[in-house]
Subunit: 137 residues, 2 copies
Amino acid sequence: MLTIGDLSRKTGVKIPTIRYYEQMGLLDAAERSEGNQRRYAAPERERLSFIKHARELGLTIEAIRELIDLSAHPERPCEEADRIAAEQLTAVREKIEKLRRLEKELKRIATRCAGDQIKDCYVIRALAHHDMCESDH
Amino acid sequence: MLTIGDLSRKTGVKIPTIRYYEQMGLLDAAERSEGNQRRYAAPERERLSFIKHARELGLTIEAIRELIDLSAHPERPCEEADRIAAEQLTAVREKIEKLRRLEKELKRIATRCAGDQIKDCYVIRALAHHDMCESDH
DNA sequence: TCATTTTCTATAGTGACTAGAGATTGGCCA
DNA sequence: TGGCCAATCTCTAGTCACTATAGAAAATGA
């Protein structure tokens, strides 16, 4: 059995975060030692790795909860799980698109400062006037 | 003079957000009508547009505060403003890079479900086992 | 046995808002 | 001038996914 510290080291999830996931219902309430400390075995470790991986992929706690509920019913069709993954993919693509536009504009702003005093600074002027932007956002 | 509602409509910044920016010190405390309602003129509107634009570009409230402080001292060199813009650019590029890796993996996960029941679902299995990932994150 | 480390609970803080309650003010129409 | 309703006011709490802190109890190693 692992202590919460062991589990934390093995999964790379911080201790308070593990307790937080338990509180949020992503992890079942852990078994306890005689002295009331949490003890974990392999299944909990796998579950936590699942959660960690999903979080890294940008899934919300809520989406992860859905997936966990799903996996508790292995006889159901997996369309739902596919849908959740597809939604994440769409969300990620939108974020990338938005950031690309920002990158373009920041690049323009950050490299074009003509004056050497704030009063002539291109950064300041560009931020003040949206109409200096080339793309819209 | 504009009411807070007028200002909100003209800038596209929601009313509670305007009050929040005032509280955070990004906007000076507004002039008030006899009945204690906020009244705004052109300079405040410009300032708010500046803030909005900067937020859209991903600058934090703190970074915006720095820029505002900077612009209050027009005689200073604009290196600082350049630095802030450059930092933002770096941050945005890192975010894009990270999201690209996630996109790649989600794409793989979301399109490869072989089974039609949860117990065979690729999504679930991929999330459980990081070592199924092609790139690292 | 003692000291150090780990863990426990509970609470508050983060950032950038958003939502709601309950009270006041402003503007318009008759 | 009165009445009405929308807009505004302040204040508090909620959001998300943690992170940090305090003070107490348990576990471990010398």
